[in-house]
């Protein structure tokens, strides 16, 4: 099972990323758990300087932008 984290303290784009990630996981039928990390002290260890960020299996994949649904699907399934 994959572990997917969306990092970001409640800005509009962070929520958008979370929604898109949930859709991507559902549409690709990936077995994954999705977490939303809002506490800055938990975000810090990932060394992310711009939110929203996407972390898949503890690896930072995206920072500062919201990728398109297709790109997310690729990231999640690869």
């Amino acid at each position: 099972m994959k572990n997917i984290k969306v990092l970001g303290s409640g800005c509009a784009r962070c929520n958008k990323l979370e929604t898109l990630v949930r859709r991507a996981v559902e549409e690709t039928g990936t077995d994954a758990e999705i977490e939303k990390i809002e506490d800055i002290r938990e975000i810090t260890p990932y060394n992310v300087m711009s939110t929203p960020a996407l972390v898949i299996d503890e690896e930072v994949k995206v920072t500062g932008t919201v990728p398109s649904l297709d790109e997310l699907k690729k990231l999640i399934t690869s």
Binding site: V48, M49, T63, G64
Partner: protein, 351 residues
């Protein structure tokens, strides 16, 4: 994945041309529309009944709303593309270990072109400190980023001409530069939250993703920022222009000049105080500024009001509270506010 890389390259080059042509066509339409706004607004207002005051207000509204939205769309698009060339990680690399002075100046300049959103002010702040960027330099960046950004520069240019735009930017730089230096001198490190102080100078490989951008991606990023920024800010524009058009049509000149004119020295600090709790985007505040100046308000006073609305906002301070103790927030707000008041006076004296 593709078997024939050369062929793949060819087709991707072709599909890359489509967005570029699209941008070109859009730019032409934009210019056509923008240069005819005045006459279109005249036409629209002529169709409306009503007495002269209401008409004057209406004209201001009908002309100003599309004008600001058009300007903002173009600027945000261009800035969105510029932002794909500069990441906060890159900026941090440039600023790390710089001495005070040069560091503060560089930070203020980079604040103008680095993508910044107040919602990621905190991770950015921590990221800077971790890499060993001095506290004062970090503040120079944080002050410059919202206040002297490219959007502000080009909107001012489009609405007030180059003289005011350049003066605004230079004075904005000065405030960011000096405030950062002062904070550095005050040695405020103890006013960081404990866990943040422990993170200072603990460089760790940044999660900088060196994404290779094609022009197609860059244009998409530009469009994305138009969608997210203009989509969010248009409400402020309509409200701002609404307030502006009421001022334009109904507020007597003598009244405005009396409270915001050059004789009323106290109006500069008053404008700054009034601006702090207000929170809007530069695009929303400019139409108000334009109407106020049209009614005889002193330029310095209006500038001070604008700067305070943009650079000192209650929501940003609440966000920063997570990493700063109240004392440092108070120091930060006081220094920036005094800087803005001084700028307001200088503007009033010079112009």
């Amino acid at each position: 994945m593709s078997i024939d890389p050369a062929k793949d390259n060819e087709s991707s080059r072709q599909s890359a041309m489509i967005p570029i042509i699209g941008v070109f066509v859009a730019a032409l339409c934009w210019i056509l529309l923008y240069t005819h706004l005045e006459s279109l607004a005249d036409l629209a207002v002529d169709l409306l009944p009503g007495h002269s005051r209401a008409r004057e207000s209406m004209h201001f509204f009908v002309y100003e709303v599309p004008k600001v939205i058009l300007l903002l769309t173009a600027i945000v698009f261009v800035m969105g593309i510029i932002h794909t060339f500069i990441s906060p990680e890159r900026t941090r690399e440039i600023l790390a270990e710089r001495p005070a002075g040069t560091g503060n100046a560089l930070a203020a300049v980079l604040g103008m072109v680095t993508p910044f959103c107040s919602c990621s002010a905190v991770p950015l702040f921590i990221g800077f400190l971790q890499a060993g960027v001095p506290l004062g330099v970090t503040f120079s960046f944080l002050i410059a980023a919202p206040m002297v950004d490219g959007v502000a520069l080009f909107l001012l240019l489009g609405m007030f001409g180059w003289r005011i735009a350049v003066t605004y930017i230079l004075l904005g730089f000065l405030i960011a530069f000096v405030s950062g230096l002062v904070i550095e001198r005050l040695k405020m490190e103890h006013a960081l939250e404990e866990w943040v102080r422990e993170l200072q100078k603990t460089p760790s490989p940044a999660a900088a993703l060196q994404q290779d951008h094609s022009w197609r991606d860059r244009i998409r990023e530009g469009l994305d920022s138009v969608r997210s920024i203009v989509g969010k800010v248009w409400v402020f524009i309509v409200l701002g222009v609404g307030a502006g058009s009421i001022i334009h049509g109904y507020v007597p000149r003598e009244f405005m000049a009396g409270i915001m004119g050059e004789e009323a020295w106290w109006s500069v600090p008053a404008a700054v105080l009034l601006g702090v709790p207000m929170y809007t985007n530069i695009a929303g505040i400019l139409p108000v500024a334009e109407a106020l100046i049209g009614k005889g308000a002193a330029i310095g006073t209006v500038m001070a009001f604008m700067m305070s609305v943009i650079a000192l906002s209650a929501p940003e301070m609440i966000i920063l509270r997570k990493v700063l103790k109240p004392r440092l927030i108070a120091v930060f707000a006081t220094i920036v506010a005094s800087g803005i008041v001084i700028v307001g006076f200088v503007f009033n004296l010079l112009l």
